[in-house]
């Protein structure tokens, strides 16, 4: 134990340090100034979880308001219409910009990407820490806006709502925050691309990479190519609001619809920033828990790249009712359907992987199965919205709300699955399998109860973002709100399960699930420089090399994957 009593050594003081990354140094400063990708990943995870709770509270406030139909006629309402607008805006902005976009790549990607490559760290550790602090700063600015006139425009910041004279002054803070969050996202993506290109082990070819890395790579390409455009759009919005530039203001000859084009040029690809990493995690979990080699590796890999590229040419489908020409609408509609192809390729390959596999219904696998259901519905309802004629009817109704929750919250389900999957690796403890499963089932039931009724009321004409509505929709709204409470209960169980595991959980073996990617061939938790030796890359989905060892309650490699020295 003498090493622990030594003065806190600077990170990376020695080339060989076998202590695990949690115990390599102590104290808040050793975390706040760390350059270790694992610690940065854990800090992201903590921050994102806190913001997820806040975003969830706003969602519950929205759902609670909507338990009642005629809010506008209520005498002295607890939640006024203005407050309600702020709730749904903050829910959307927090969940999209602060939680889902950085969720899987920045928190879990940061943790496992270099280990999966067999590298010691990402290519630019200091840029990585900078990304994290930019995320913190952007989040802080967005939260500060709560005290300076919270934003009520919806998360899309559409002009002229966002630029008119009486738009709240918190607007500037939130938009500046989103701009900085964008920078954080760009730097994370840049870091990952360089790391995957340059820090692979010799012999680790592109087609031996775990599919999670293909997904992260494709995500990073979108982050780099799309986010700067959002950056300039938000900058224009800021100068428009503060200096009356006139770009988006018809009173000065500007064009508010132009903002929508610029915004969706980023924000549609951003949908794939959100979903692609989840699809990558899916490929890992499905294969591991089916105990079967992934089916159609190359198809899944290339479909990630295809989704990233298609994502850039479909933004106009958000604007079918904005007065675009019929020709443009038709072209965007047709292109939109093309995205369905690579998405379906992935789903079919997952199903084929499970076919005749030896499926273990542990918590990560449960979340993966929920994702197939949720993403299936989310993807297929997208086709109704991509079709011009039906979109005119469904535009800006609850059908749209339900559709994008089925896609984006699908990502959240995979995020939960991924947290359970890598939890033993991150913290060296096993969570309680029964509690984890109960939480995931509650979340699944609650989710469907919340959003399936929204498809129904949306198709019947209930518009989104309304504070007060006709009583015929009340039954659906009540169902939906009850569902949201069930989800909240599920989240509480999950939180309890994970938190108690940190203290009471069984010590995790190096490879509890029987996965063959490199992060499971190092200790749980990994040492400071990830491996006590040199890892040797192999096919990450070949499970013949592993056998169950009841003594360690985990899997053991017959042929060692890490050579000493």
């Amino acid at each position: 134990m003498s090493t622990l009593n030594a003065p806190a050594a600077p990170a990376y003081a020695t080339a060989v340090d076998t202590r695990n990354y949690l115990k390599a140094s102590y104290g808040p400063v050793s975390w706040l100034l760390t350059l270790d990708h694992k610690r940065i990943g854990v800090m992201y995870l903590v921050g994102i979880s806190v913001m997820f709770l806040l975003g969830g509270i706003f969602a519950l406030l929205v759902r609670t308001t909507l338990l009642f139909a005629n809010n506008a006629e209520a005498v002295d309402p607890l939640i006024t219409a203005e407050l309600y607008n702020r709730f749904f805006t903050l829910h959307g902005a927090i969940m999209v910009f602060i939680v889902i976009i950085p969720g899987i790549p920045a928190a879990l990607g940061n943790f496992v990407l270099p280990i999966m490559l067999g590298a010691k760290d990402v290519a630019f550790p200091r840029v990585n820490l900078l990304s994290f602090y930019m995320w913190m700063l952007g989040t802080a600015l967005a939260l500060a806006s709560l005290f300076f006139g919270a934003v009520d425009t919806g998360w899309t910041f559409y002009t002229p709502y966002s630029t008119s004279e009486n738009s709240p002054s918190g607007m500037i803070l939130v938009v500046t925050g989103a701009f900085i969050l964008g920078f954080s996202s760009v730097f994370t993506g840049l870091n990952f691309i360089v790391t995957i290109h340059q820090l692979r082990r010799p012999g680790q070819t592109w087609f031996r990479l775990p599919l999670f890395l293909w997904a992260i790579y494709s995500t990073a390409v979108i982050q780099i190519l799309a986010t700067p455009v959002l950056g300039i759009t938000l900058l224009l919005l800021i100068v428009e609001k503060t200096m009356k530039m006139g770009f988006f203001n018809p009173a000065y000859g500007g064009d508010p619809v132009l903002f929508q084009h610029f915004f969706w040029f980023y924000s549609h690809p951003a949908v794939y920033i959100m979903i692609l990493p989840a699809m990558g995690v899916m490929s890992e979990i499905i294969s591991v828990f089916s105990r079967k080699h992934i089916f159609g590796y190359r198809f899944i890999a290339w479909s990630s790249v295809a989704i990233a590229l298609f994502g850039f040419i479909v933004w106009g489908h958000h604007m079918f009712t904005s007065g675009q020409s019929a020709l443009m609408n038709t072209i965007f509609s047709a292109l939109t359907f093309s995205v369905a192809v690579p998405s379906a390729i992935k789903v079919f390959n997952w199903l084929a992987t499970m076919y005749k596999g030896s499926i273990a219904l542990q918590t990560p696998m449960l979340y993966a199965l929920w994702f197939i259901w949720i993403f299936g519905i989310g993807g297929l309802t997208g086709l109704f919205l991509g079709t011009l004629a039906t979109d005119i009817h469904l535009h800006d109704t609850y059908f749209v709300v339900a559709h994008f929750h089925y896609v984006m919250a699908g990502t959240i389900f995979v995020l939960f699955g991924a947290i359970h999957y890598w939890w033993p690796k991150m913290f060296g403890r096993m969570y309680d399998e029964r509690q984890g499963a109960i939480a995931s089932i509650l979340l699944f039931i609650g989710f469907n109860l919340t959003f399936l009724p929204q498809f129904v009321m949306g198709s019947q004409g209930m518009p989104r973002r309304y504070y007060s509505y006709d009583e015929v929709y009340q039954v659906y709204h009540v169902l939906s709100s009850v569902g949201s409470y069930v989800m909240a209960a599920g989240l509480l169980v999950m939180g309890y399960c994970l938190f108690t595991s940190l203290k009471r959980g069984a010590k995790a073996p190096d490879n509890p699930w029987g996965s063959n990617s490199l992060e499971w061939h190092t200790t749980s938790p990994p040492p400071l420089e990830n491996f006590n030796g040199t890892p040797v890359a192999d096919d990450p989905y070949d499970y013949h090399n592993l056998e169950w060892d009841p003594q360690i309650q985990g899997f053991r490699s017959k042929k060692p994957m890490v050579t000493s020295g």
Partner: protein, 334 residues
């Protein structure tokens, strides 16, 4: 020289020299080549994001220019192409000296490196100096962006004077008509809006135009427009949408347009100040980087074995130069 490289690396970063041969090699890289390749790829990707950041503005420029070329023709006549041209030369020369500095760093020529970086830095100062002269000149004429646009016509020479006289007439007529229209009960909101704007304009303050349907005036016959106190050709310029002048014969840089013929000139200055301003910020960042490189070069950090920061800083400076190469013709020449 080699000694200087050896000693400075230890103080430059937190990566201790333990276990590595080269103090400039970060712990997570295997070789200097790998580290260099990472830096280079990372920098190129970063430059790609910069291009896309400006890309949004170029896109905005293209859309607005194709819809309203007259705004850009008129606006460009207010810019001084000579100053812009000098600035172009200044930046090109500074790019050359930057490339020269990189070459010197690679050959271990410290004097040359310092000289190259120094001249490049001076080029940045020169560019920003000329830019500030240009900005000051624009501000003195009231050529601000968007809602702050407030041109003073008296320095625009004969044509402008003539236009001003005509302007006042039109405004009066429109004003009178607006009053008349009210009493007749058939006035268009847009009519009175135009009157108000002209009055405000001649008073030296630009009021925002009211939003109005594009066809509000364009649908009226020429006789009716004359009756209302408008010159039909001028009304069409403003009211025809979305093509603007693009629908008829597009103006060239030779066309002399008066202030009344061109609406929304403030948008030219909005985009001009946004693009050159954002570019100016990038020049300042580039100068900071070059200053930092200069200090490190003074300390003797760079040599044939380690010149990565100079190389990457140079790439950034060339990009800043490249963006100006596009901005200059787009605003000053065409």
């Amino acid at each position: 020289m080699a000694d200087a490289v050896q000693t400075s690396g230890a103080s430059a970063g937190h990566e201790g020299p333990h276990g590595h041969h080269d103090p400039n090699l970060a712990h997570h890289f295997d070789t200097m080549e790998q580290q260099f390749e990472c830096g280079k790829l990372g920098m190129w990707l970063f430059l790609a994001t910069e291009v896309l950041l400006f890309g949004g503005l170029f896109c905005w420029y293209a859309i607005w220019r194709s819809n309203h070329p007259e705004v850009f023709v008129y606006g460009a006549q207010k810019l001084d192409w000579k100053l812009g041209g000098i600035n172009t030369i200044v930046l090109l020369v500074s790019s050359f000296t930057m490339a020269w500095a990189v070459g010197c760093a690679q050959r271990g020529n410290r004097q040359g490196l310092l000289l190259g970086l120094g001249i490049t830095f001076l080029g940045g100062i020169g560019f920003m100096g000329i830019k500030s002269v240009e900005y000051t000149e624009k501000f003195s004429h009231g050529y601000y962006w968007g809602g702050s646009y407030n041109p003073t016509h008296h320095e625009e020479g004969h044509a402008a004077d003539h236009a001003d006289g005509e302007h006042a007439e039109t405004a009066d007529a429109a004003h009178a008509e607006a009053g008349a229209a009210d009493s007749h009960g058939d006035g268009h909101a847009a009519d009175s809006a135009h009157g108000e704007e002209s009055v405000a304009d001649s008073a030296g303050e630009l009021a925002p135009q009211e939003v109005r349907p594009p066809a509000a005036l364009a649908g009226l016959s020429a006789e009716r427009l004359t009756e209302l106190g408008y010159e039909p050709s001028k009304v069409l310029l403003a009211a025809e949408a979305p093509g603007g002048l693009a629908a008829s014969a597009p103006p060239t840089s030779e066309t002399k347009l008066s202030a009344e013929e061109v609406r929304n000139v403030h948008l030219f200055f909005s985009i001009y100040f946004c693009m050159t301003g954002l570019h100016g910020i990038h020049v300042l960042i580039g100068m900071a980087v070059i200053g930092w490189l200069f200090v490190r070069a003074l300390r003797g950090d760079f040599g044939p074995g380690y010149f990565e920061p100079v190389d990457l800083g140079g790439l950034y400076w060339h990009l800043v130069d490249l963006i100006w190469i596009y901005l200059f013709p787009l605003f000053y020449l065409i």
